[in-house]
Symmetry: C2
């Protein structure tokens, strides 16, 4: 690829540019994060204030109409944006970024339209009261800002950093979950980006703390403060935590299983057209509103605690102890969770020193509702995140376990909620280090770490028995040819030649234009081996590989000759320096753009100048497991397979990413036992 060496100044410019982009990503992601939070807090704050006001006037049906109406309007707007402008913006975005960083090219996922829809769709979706989060979209937003593989890594890290205000956590997330390759220099640049994000956020929070951001109060950015609770634990506590982790692992894998099933149904429904997508969103929105408003009536009113200084009942747009239908002096604990933004609900669940605040049956109802709503909400047509639903369900579950164990465990219910959230994240996403670090950065308490690690270890191990992480599932569901880090066991029994598929198309070193054009039109191959036949060489030998994109540039340039002669150096003068550089998303030349005349079809073109003469190649008898490792480690797109014995054509096949997919291999060898 780097076949034309660059000057020193250009290299310097390139380095400066990369750092400037890293800074820009950091700044923009930070600003988007701020914008997102302020917008969500203001939109849903407005909605909740109206509802609460009508509630206090006992206009219950009107209150529900306003509540559900706002939700439907926001949801419909988000869905319309998404369905008509950029369908690719739907969903979490993390699986797409992950697949892209693995080497899967799916251009539209990172288009500017996607960015626009991500930002506004996410704000509207979260404001609509759906059980969705903004983290996934934020990662995608960070990734959308630029379109280069390593900068996308920075972007993904910046997204997580913005969502959790954890700069190191963002880096570790990119390292653990998103990136398939890693370089030491990338680490520094990624950290730079996440640090910029953290600083931007910090600055804005200080500005907002003076009350200049509308309804944006203490809420918004996730920050759970459990530091007030003393962390001292005994054997019984650890037993409770182990139980919590184990059950959670099962729940987590169940969640993944159901999300997978629901996604399959939705993908069928969503194919029926944009209007249908919007309709689906509106139905889910109404369902969510009914759940939130309707279920709150089932809670019994609880007398306000007298000794506390907080306002109770609360008629603000956020906060604990919602009044709802209760008489003065009482509060509705279920409404405190439902009629709030998700962030506030999580904060309420994790609040410490408030053991009795939520009834056990309240927690059970809320957990069931959030678990189900989270599953059916993911996959509808607007930007949805998975973090928040998972944290919400997990925190509720944790607090529930805390209540059940309160007789034997002295841990605070808020801590149990935190551990529950951690275990559910571990069981669903199967992240570990980044999760520990994010929780460490959020809570700043090292003593909590052993418990968090224990619960993560258990819930991840238990869940791993049943299925894969939710992002991996979605990647697989979307049909991305994702290369796993480890070769499948059955690959050891196969060799490279066994999986080579399709007819091999090779070009001669100096090839007829017509042949090339025909090959480009009839196949979708991106690389073609070039073979030097006699008289160019003594025997046929492999010269290298040409890329489709380079062929197109060369054909467009029309450097043809009547005879089979070498083109020589002057061919480079026909092209500008960056003609062969990688084109941006969808900006490359297409076959249809070529305008080759009939008489030119029989002319020759010298492919040597654009041939990569050092393609990676493997011998046909090499173990497929090793070939897969090589392919993945070096981040290749194609690889030549050469014969072992002499006297055969110099190349026997080309391996591409698709040839390593289990679907392909198991199709060829159905008797192989796939890894569970």
């Amino acid at each position: 690829q780097d076949w034309r060496s660059r000057k020193k100044v250009q290299i310097f410019q390139y380095v400066i540019l990369k750092w400037a982009f890293a800074l820009l990503i950091g700044l923009l992601t930070g600003l988007f994060g701020i914008f997102n939070n302020i917008a969500v807090e203001n939109l849903s704050g407005f909605k909740l204030l109206m509802t609460t006001n009508l509630m206090t006037q006992h206009k219950y049906f009107k209150a529900f109409a306003v509540f559900a109406g706002c939700n439907v309007v926001f949801a419909a707007a988000a869905a319309t944006l998404c369905a008509f402008i950029s369908p690719a913006a739907a969903g979490s975005g993390i699986p797409k970024v992950k697949a892209y960083l693995n080497g899967v090219d799916a251009y539209s996922i990172l288009a500017p339209g996607t960015l626009f829809v991500k930002i506004f769709g996410s704000v509207l979706g979260v404001s609509a009261g759906f059980v969705v989060g903004k983290e996934g979209p934020m990662v995608h937003t960070g990734a959308c800002i630029v379109d280069r593989r390593d900068l996308i890594t920075c972007g993904a890290a910046a997204g997580v950093a913005a969502a959790f205000r954890a700069p190191v956590g963002g880096v570790l997330f990119a390292l653990e979950e998103a990136a398939s390759w890693w370089r030491s220099t990338l680490l520094w640049r990624t950290f730079f980006t996440t640090a910029v994000v953290a600083i931007v956020l910090r600055a804005f929070i200080q500005i907002c703390s003076t009350g200049r951001c509308g309804l944006f109060g203490e809420g918004g950015l996730i920050m759970y403060d459990v530091s007030a609770a003393a962390v001292m634990y005994s054997g019984a506590d650890i037993l409770a935590v182990i139980l919590l982790g184990t059950i959670r692992g099962i729940f987590g894998s169940l969640y993944n299983y159901l999300v997978d099933k629901v996604l399959r149904v939705y993908s069928i429904l969503n194919r029926k057209g944009a209007a249908f997508k919007v309709l689906l969103v509106i139905i889910i929105s109404l369902l969510t509103s009914c759940c939130a408003y309707g279920l709150s009536w089932f809670a019994t009113c609880i007398p306000c605690p007298t000794h506390e200084s907080i306002s109770c009942p609360n008629t603000d747009e956020s906060g604990n102890n919602k009044s709802f239908q209760c008489p003065p002096g009482y509060y509705n604990d279920l409404a405190s969770l439902f009629l709030n933004t998700n962030d506030d609900a999580i904060r309420n669940l994790m609040s410490t020193s408030t053991v009795k605040e939520f009834h056990i049956h309240t927690l059970i109802i809320f957990f069931a509702a959030v678990f189900c709503l989270g599953i059916i909400t993911y996959g509808i047509a607007f930007p949805t995140g998975l973090f928040i639903p998972v944290i919400l369900a997990g925190a509720c579950y944790g607090r529930l376990v805390g209540r059940l164990f309160e007789t034997i465990s002295k841990l605070d219910a808020g801590l149990f909620a935190l551990l529950g959230a951690a275990s559910f994240l571990g069981g669903t996403m199967r992240m570990t280090v980044s999760l520990c670090d994010i929780l460490l950065e959020l809570t700043n308490d090292l003593l909590l770490l052993p418990l968090v690690m224990l619960v993560l270890l258990i819930s991840k191990s238990v869940a791993d028995i049943f299925n894969k992480g939710v992002y991996d599932q979605i990647v697989k569901l979307n049909g991305f040819p994702y290369l796993e880090a480890h070769a499948e066991p059955y690959m050891r029994q196969l060799v490279a030649l066994d999986v080579v598929s399709g007819p091999l198309i090779t070009f001669s070193g100096i090839e007829k234009v017509g042949n090339i054009l025909h090959a480009l039109r009839t196949t979708g191959h991106n690389g073609f081996p070039v073979i030097d036949d006699p008289p160019l060489s003594d025997a046929p030998e492999l010269c290298g590989i040409v890329l489709r994109s380079h062929l197109l540039v060369l054909l467009k340039g029309k450097a043809f000759s009547k005879d089979r002669i070498f083109a020589g150096e002057e061919i480079f003068h026909r092209f500008a320096v960056f003609d062969f550089a990688k084109a941006g998303s969808g900006k490359g030349i297409k076959v249809e753009d070529l305008d080759i005349e009939e008489e030119e079809m029989d002319m020759y073109i010298d492919l040597h100048p654009i041939t990569n003469t050092s393609p990676y190649m493997v011998v046909e008898t090499m173990s497929l497991a090793k070939v897969a490792l090589l392919f993945r480690q070096l981040g290749l797109r194609h690889m030549c397979v050469i014969p072992k014995s002499q006297g055969r054509p110099p190349v026997v096949g080309i391996l591409t990413r698709h040839d390593f997919m289990p679907v392909h291999i198991l199709g060829l060898y159905p008797h192989m036992k796939p890894h569970k």
Copy 2:
């Protein structure tokens, strides 16, 4: 390597074992860290108490004799341990671990004797008052505990985590500085290890805080608390910080340059024998004692601040405001730095709200002394760390700059000391992310991050102009064949065949015992290509590679036959399952151990069962830059070079790590311009 598939139970055992080892490393490293700190605090506390008591009785010469005597005794003990038991334990250890993780085999560096010397030598060396640290040895200690590549990564991370009590910092250090390869699973295991270390340390500190650890008070484990200082900065402060970073980058590279020179001198001196090594250590020890004691006399006595609650003058074993020769009510600021453990001196320098505590000329004297002593101390024969000298000099320099800028900058002098330490670390070690994270974990202040990053970015960039990081220098100086992450530019002009060196020794598929024995005895090669000649195949073709260690096992088993026949399956019954597994350090069979009789020399042995039939290979015309990338990315030890055209032997050479060394390549092609 994995040519014999294992059973499921064995895989499970293996996984359990790995985690158990990770836990063990964490526990042991944590315990060693604790032991180290308690021992150092007690030994040097005892020494300093005696000295201070004699000083208060005005017995100045006796005080010096005790001080210097203790130092010499400790130093001589450390040097004796190191010189006679394990010379490999000298120095920081980080360069060795780095080289080992890059794939350089140097068995003795990780032997149990090394571990023993590291632990006790480091304690004695630090207690002897040298300007050395315990971080490097601790990393090496962590690495010594086990002898597997990925567990050593865990160990190195554990070492840093133990030194700074920063679990995530340890992981990032391993990722950024130590490891050459990285896998996602490794991240989780490394974090697990560092978390265990952090928890162990935390538990012990709680125990020690009740005063059960002798003279181990609040000191010991590095923990700089600058959180008391308000971090608000203006343009002038940033200017000061930029200046600080720039000058520091120059100092840092100067430091590296001088360390390199001094090390070259020492390596000559050290070759003269163990006794000479000990003598050198004693001389340096006396010099250090003279500096510390003698220079303290140059400081003027400062009246104790009246408004503060701390004891002044201080006659404890640690702490600020040493009395030294001053009359009651006065203190000697230089003695507060010199007659203290390094950890305490750093804490004193970084103490906040004590702007005027140290005179400018005190800081200049101390900086000059520490800078010079640090340089001449590294490289003498006992375990020395580089972190602490660098932090000490850096903190002193930072505080000095803070004093000089105090009229225009409002930053606290303690903060300046911290920034100075960070910039010197950046200028010397060129670490970035791990350093930021460690400082973040130590200070817990996100607002400090922009300044730290700025100063690191500047000092690293400035220092990079002049030379490489100090660890890379030492790796190079030791002559380890370290593979760089990036190929050198001149490699693009060469192809694989250009650097193949030496006569190629190949074996036939069924080879005479005598030939094999001869090859093993006359060469040091670790891998030999196996070629199937007629009549085993139609034409000579490459069968694979056999490893020296496997050959030795096979020869020892004496599976010989009179004729050239295939050995068949029954050969495996002659060997136990793990006979071919990788032997531990130095436990493998040696050529001399073989006992082959004369008549056996003419017999044949079938190499096919032990041949790795899927060796990595490249075509001779492949760009060397690409080959180097492949070699490094896959962590190979040898690679076959195959011919491009047909009708030649099936393998034209073997590439090993040494063939990629600039020394080797530039020796062959002197006209190539090396990268600066």
